[in-house]
Amino acid sequence: MELLISLIIGVLTASGVYLSLRGRTFPVVLGLTFLSYAVNLFLLVMGRLTIGNPPIITDDPTQYADPLPQALVLTAIVISFGMTAFVIVLALKAFSEMGNDQVDGKHKP
């Protein structure tokens, strides 16, 4: 399970890094989205992978799912969602103002 999750995080991060280094705005936006998926998953599993545990401390304090990473992930999701929406609008604005979708604004034939 741990191996699978780390592989997923690794693949997501690697694709995110690759895409965000591309020259056009759309792959860059996709890359940023992948990166934020990867980091959300990463934050979630920082509370350790457990199954079937109650979310709060019960009478048996050794066994519970850590609630804090879930709260962190929720915040991070909201922020990254807002940022993605913003960067998409900005990319569209850049496309309409510069006439192409290159990140540096220069048209490459």
């Binding site: 995110g16 965000s20 705005t25 860059v28 940023l32 990166l35 934020s36 990867a38 980091v39 990463f42 934050l43 920082m46 509370g47 350790r48 804090l68 990473p69 962190l72 915040t75 991070a76 922020i79 990254s80 807002g82 940022m83 913003f86 960067v87 900005l90 990319a91 604005k93 850049a94 103002e97 510069m98 990140v103 540096d104 604004g105």
Partner: protein
């Protein structure tokens, strides 16, 4: 009332921002007054906080009355109060300048301005690492919109780069925070400091990685080499008051470096002690060199000022990178000086550029500008401040830094780089100033209509008061240099003895209802 004063700098701009959102756009005068009142109140609060913490007391405010380390805390120590006061001063001057019409060429300027202050003040006050991330995002989101305010092709292009690089930075921040939480189970900075110092040896490598990832994020915010490339275009193309406010935004990175690497990864942090000591000083010196090359190569005044911001960050982080009480004292003196000087220069270059009509702020002979004596004098004072010539605060700041470098092992490197870069800054400013003020006849001057409308005395006052105020703040730093360095020296001692901070936060008594 006095118990709650710690949260005022965070609440005030938030409330003002929401209020401004509700006011209709046509009531611009009302919006301006609400914004100004909010910033004035922030200045008063910052002053009160400054006077309460100057005795060495650390004010801890537990939000929602959750006892630390479980809840989020706001911590006002000397460093935080110092940063709040500087932010409020710069914000007042920048906001006053917007009354010239910057705020009318797009909606919600004042709301965004207050939200930016909300993010800045929150980042300075928070005592929680994840909360620091949240306040970073708030200030960045407001800064994205402020940067693009007014529109234009160059702004959009610079804004796109700025947004993308900062989104990547935010992701790195989250990875670092996640790693620290996964290893240590806490995000409260004081508690992190305790846990990092007591961490088992086999976690040391991961803690190092998380600490250095955080350093990369803060270096990006502070525009340290090689992560500075977003800054010149962004600062040079945005409107003048926004650029002036952004002069404090790069300092947030420097603040975070100072806070995190004295508190969590400071001298007492066990395996992770003085984590960035080997990195910070060389990178800061490199930033100085690269920044000054940019200053020399600039073809426009605003671009030059943007590179001067990078130079000032390099100088500031060189002082912090010495990792000594004297170095931090000097850095905390240099920080307000460089912020005020850069903000004044951004506002002044806007005034000059508007009077040069189509020549804008290019370093090429242009028309004779209106009020050239007055502007020339202001330019001269600002240039002296930034280049660090006596008798103004730039000289005292650099002198303190060089004095702090005397016992350091890399003494020759530090003094050599700072003195040579100062010389080059001086040359570049002298060349730029003589191009703008002494060689006004263009070879084809008949094509260029000088700014024809004469300016009324009122317009001129609105235009130049903020610049004059910022310069007066710098002169104040000279007049009260003894008091100021006394304060920054106790601040440096407080930072280098994090036990007091940790003790105040973790032993905090929550008031029972």
């Amino acid at each position: 009332m006095m118990n709650h004063i710690t949260i005022f700098p965070v609440i005030l701009p938030l409330v003002a921002g929401i209020l401004l959102l509700l006011l209709p756009g046509r009531l611009l005068a009302l919006k301006r007054s609400v914004g100004l009142i909010s910033v004035l109140l922030q200045l008063i609060t910052a002053g009160l906080l400054l006077s309460t913490v100057s005795s060495g007391e650390i004010r801890v405010y537990a939000l929602g009355n959750w006892s630390p380390p479980f809840g989020i805390v706001l911590v006002a120590d000397q460093l935080a109060a110092w940063m709040l006061a500087i932010t409020a001063l710069v914000a007042i001057c920048a906001l006053f300048y917007t009354a010239r019409g910057t705020d009318s060429n797009g909606a919600h300027f004042h709301t965004l301005f207050q939200l930016q202050l909300f993010g800045l003040n929150g980042a300075f006050l928070t005592g929680d690492l994840f909360n620091l991330f949240v306040f970073f995002e708030i200030l960045l989101l407001a800064s994205y919109s402020l940067l693009l305010h007014g529109g234009g092709r160059l702004k959009t292009k610079a804004g796109l780069h700025f947004v993308i690089i900062n989104l990547v930075g935010s992701t790195l921040f989250l990875f670092a925070v996640g790693t620290l939480y996964g290893l240590l189970g806490t995000l409260n900075m004081a508690d992190l400091a305790v846990k990092v110092a007591a961490a088992p040896a086999n976690d040391a490598v991961l803690i190092h990685i998380a600490g250095l990832l955080l350093f990369a994020v803060f270096a990006l915010k502070a525009a340290l080499v090689p992560l500075y490339l977003w800054l010149p275009a962004a600062y040079a193309h945005t409107t003048a008051p926004v650029a002036a406010l952004f002069a404090i935004m790069t300092k947030v990175g420097a603040y975070s470096i100072l806070r995190v690497y004295t508190l969590i990864f400071g001298a007492q942090a066990g395996a992770a002690a003085n984590l960035i000591e080997t990195w910070l000083l060389p990178m800061a010196l490199l930033t100085l060199i690269v920044g000054v090359l940019g200053v020399l190569a600039s073809t426009r005044l605003r671009q030059q000022v943007a590179y001067l911001v990078i130079v000032s960050i390099g100088t500031l982080l060189t002082a912090i990178g010495m990792n000594s009480a004297a170095g931090i004292t000097a850095a905390l003196y240099y920080l307000p000086h460089s912020t005020f000087a850069a903000a004044a220069f951004f506002l002044l270059s806007d005034s000059i550029a508007q009077r040069r009509d189509v020549m804008d702020d290019q370093f090429e002979p242009g028309p004779i500008i209106q009020q050239q004596r007055l502007l020339g004098i202001l330019f001269f004072i600002t240039a002296i401040l930034i280049a660090g010539l006596p008798p103004l605060s730039g000289f005292i700041g650099k002198f303190l830094i060089l004095n702090a470098a005397l016992p350091h092992a890399a003494f020759f490197w530090i003094t050599g780089v700072i003195l040579i870069t100062s010389l080059f800054t001086l040359i570049a400013l002298a060349r730029g100033g003589s191009m703008l003020f002494y060689r006004p006849q263009a070879p084809h001057s008949c094509n260029i209509a000088p700014d024809a409308e004469p300016r009324s005395a009122f317009a001129l006052t609105v235009e130049l008061t903020p610049v004059a105020c910022l310069l007066l703040c710098c002169i104040g730093l000279v007049v009260f240099a003894g008091t100021v360095t006394g304060y920054t020296a106790t601040t440096a001692n407080q930072l280098l003895q994090p036990e007091v901070y940790i003790e105040s936060v973790l032993r905090m008594e929550v008031i029972q209802p």
